[in-house]
Amino acid sequence: MMSTSIYNTDASTTDNYLNHTKGVFSWLFTLDHKRIGMMYLVCVLTAFFIAGVFAMLIRFHLLTPEGMFMTQDQYNQAFTAHGAMMVFLVIIPGVPAALGNFVLPIMLGAKDVAFPRLNLFSWWLWVFGLIFFLLSLAVGGLDTGWTFYTPYSIDKTSSMGGVIPALAGAFVLGFSSIFTGMNFIVTIHRLRPAGMTWFRMPLFLWATYATAIIQVLATPVIGITLLLLIVERSVGIGIFDPAMGGDPVLYQHFFWFYSHPAVYIMILPAMGVVSELIAVHSHRHIFGYKFIAYSSIAIALFGFLVWGHHMFTSGQSPLMNVIFSLITFSVSIPSAVKVFNWLATLYKGSIVFNAPMLYGLSFIFIFTIGGLTGIHLGTLATDVHLHDTYFVVAHFHYVMMGSALIGFIGGIHHWWPKMTGKLYNEFWSRFAAILVFIGFNMTFFTQFMLGSKGMPRRYATYVDVPELQIYHVISTIGSVIMAVGFVITAIYLLESIFRGRKAPRNPWGGRSLEWQCASPPPWNNFDEQPVVGDCYDFSVLEWDDEEQGYHWKEGVAHPGEEESEIE
């Protein structure tokens, strides 16, 4: 027997997960997925701002060909810190840990994830990972680049002393990722409600599921790689060190076998978010549900077969190069399919240009460019020219930052009313979204040209090609615009917590289960697990002027409800 409390949670009650228990320890040792999600969100965004500061240092330094204000050593540490923090602390945990943890169980109508303690442990591992990284900065600095290539990273006379703590930090963060993945796989398999078959799940869950598969399968490889590096550097076993008969290129195979699937860990959840954003904010049933779902799985699986495309000029044999290049093109197709399906979702929709939708549209625009430039890099003849140049830097910023991060921020805006119970300032949110979009493209589009014209990666100076300065200057100006956009975002989001309007249960008109509990959700989400129907069928919702949100239409049965039971 369904209780109506599920769908019409008493809005007058103020007891929710935020205030249910008080005190720092009730947060630090909580088992509640919503609190863990919020802690992750705060931590990840803090790491994002710190790593962003390093990025600004880099961009300002490169305003002149001789370098503005950093020494070579400082510059090398800056780009290493920026890359390592962004990859391991921000983008890989990003959407799954901060948004997924919060939203996933509620989307399933469940009380929590399958393993709440493991979830808390994942968060603590993230914190330890951060501490190790900070330790590495203190214990001699880190200047190997986030890729830790050998022999540089094992040569104590070349690289700085903070390598081993940094490797340990990445190792610990790897486990944080693995446990989150395990948790999500089991939760999605076991805790789905009645009516939610695999092909009735919201697409965000398909994306999260595909991501979790990669997390569990691929991350142990980087764990072992990092351990081997630690042992090589400290004890000198000789596996990667050519002075002892080892093979430094073997390290690259180890590293990229994880790190390529890792980039799909970064992008798939953001694509899942975008599916939700596009559908909900254009009030349209998603187009091609099955194809989008299958494409997530296809990307996850194909992603394991292409790691060698990071090594086309590393001395890899031509046969391997040809094989990897061919398979690399296969990965581009499922991503293209998604973009076409999202466009078709917009067709005959009712599109509102609020912040979440602006981020969703930005994603499509930017990911199109990022994905298309991947073709230049996957093609052998052109990659020889473009590898290890700013073209690569531009490409991966387009997909990792302009797509994955923007999807993340779009998701934050989309679920912000649900997570905090507050609405942010509409005008400033749209303004900041546009600033970020313009700033991003200005920053990174010029870097494509820098790369193809001859600017190598990881260069602190470019005195032999001073004619490229104009591109660097435009790029830096763009980064300032983008930074301003992010700062404005931080301000209005924080402001909304203290002074924002109270959010209705369903401000956007979403149909997935999280929009049917209160904003913010109560401590245990739902009293009973509801039955679900098609979560993209928005026709059952209607606008309520009084609460300034959407609610279930009067007279329309909920799934599983008998006609006679309708109030």
Binding site: Q72, D73, N76, Y149, T150, P151, Y152, S158, P242, A243, P248, H283, I286, F287, G288, Y289, F291, T313, S314, G315, P318, V322, S325, L326, F329, S332, V337, V339, A344, L346, K348, G349, I351, F353, L361, I364, T368, L372, I375, H376, G378, T379, A381, T382, V384, H385, H387, D388, T389, M449, S452, K453, G454, R457, Y459, T461, V465, G509, F538, W543
Partner: protein
């Protein structure tokens, strides 16, 4: 024939000057690489335009006018899904084939290449011309219109040699040989970069490629190989530190730091006074002077370059290889003169302050 069709279609020609995206083409391979690049670009422009214009069009036409939910849009269409899966797949396979063919051309070095041996190390490029016995540091001279093959290895870390105008790149790996080939089609000076991060001096590990007419190449090389022969002893130190020191660089520093071998800083003083102890327990002073093995300190230095294992300095492992056959007599003399005058050639941090012709460096 195909490539001429592409040329006409995309407006590129052999020897293209710098374009919006790419530097000038200065090698035979650059043309096919650029054709591939331009082909991909135009396909990308097309798809970008199609996607973004649909995006903008839909956003304008279907913008929200009321809160009423719309229900008449399609939710799936298997035919169109198949179309927009298969067509891009066919397109990328075409791109792959074009790219693969261009790539394989870059791999297969033709017969009769002129060979240059490249040694990369932190943070300089050394180019040896075995045919002439000449060595160049931080610059590479090659003949126009003749295929050149670079056989490369590194002394320490992974570096990567990139000549943007030739569109060639290959990593340079310690303990292993890698190679690339090119045939220059334009006279001039072209940039060469290290493009695999190698630490502090990565941004400064640069070189220049000088392409000279084929008939000028041989005389220039012959002259280079023996440039020290006509030098006076005052000119030798500047020559040695610019042309020869890089071979010693990976083990012997100029700033006093003890590395695999002793530092060159203050070495002449130590050798001259015989204040060097060997692992055998002997000290150099007992080997200098009349009726001894070496007599004068210069002989000891000469011997330690040609037969370094004979007397190993205490505290070191004896890792130095012999340079027998690699250095001519006068080059060894130049090195000895370099030691004697080291203070005039370097600063306190071990940086070289003098050019090869004796003029001070900036």
């Amino acid at each position: 024939m195909m490539s001429s069709a592409f040329s006409i279609l995309f407006g590129t020609t052999v020897g293209n000057p710098e374009t919006f995206w790419l530097p000038e083409q200065a090698s035979t391979a650059a043309h096919s690489v650029d054709i591939t690049f331009v082909l991909i670009n135009w396909i990308c422009y097309f798809f970008f335009a199609a996607i973004v214009s649909s995006l903008v069009f839909f956003c304008v036409k279907y913008r929200r006018k009321s809160h009423v939910m719309v229900t008449d849009g399609p939710t799936h269409n298997t035919t169109i899904e198949i179309v927009w899966t298969v067509l891009p797949l066919l397109l990328v396979i075409v791109i792959f084939v074009v790219g693969m063919r261009g790539y394989l051309d870059l791999q297969e070095a033709p017969e009769g290449c002129y060979e240059v041996q490249v040694t990369a190390q932190k943070w300089s490029w050394t180019f040896d011309h075995p045919q002439y016995g000449a060595t160049q540091v931080a610059e590479l001279t090659v003949p126009l219109g003749r295929p050149v093959r670079l056989l490369m290895t590194s002394k320490d870390l992974i570096h990567s040699l990139w000549i943007p105008s030739f569109r060639v790149k290959m990593d340079v790996i310690p303990g292993r040989y890698t190679s690339l080939w090119f045939e220059a089609t334009k006279l001039g000076v072209f940039q060469l970069n290290c493009t695999e991060y190698c630490g502090k001096g990565h941004s400064e590990m640069l070189a220049k490629v000088h392409v000279v007419p084929a008939d000028e190449f041989e005389p220039y090389m012959v002259k280079l190989a023996s440039e020290y022969e006509d030098m006076t002893s005052e000119q030798l130190p500047a020559y040695a530190i610019n042309r020869l020191y890089n071979r010693c660089q990976s083990c012997h520093t100029l700033d006093g730091t003890v590395s695999t071998g002793p530092s060159f800083m203050g070495l002449w003083d130590r050798v001259n006074t015989g204040a060097v102890k060997f692992t055998s327990g002997e000290s150099l002073s007992s080997l200098l002077g009349s009726m001894t093995e070496y007599g004068v300190p210069e002989n000891y230095i000469r011997a330690s370059i040609l037969d370094p294992q004979k007397h190993i300095v205490q505290g070191f492992l004896g890792a130095m290889p012999s340079f027998q056959g690699q250095l001519k007599d006068k080059q060894i003399t130049a090195i000895i003169e370099m030691f004697k005058n080291l203070e005039d050639l370097t600063d306190a941090d071990g940086n070289i302050t003098v050019n090869r012709d004796g003029t001070p460096k900036e």
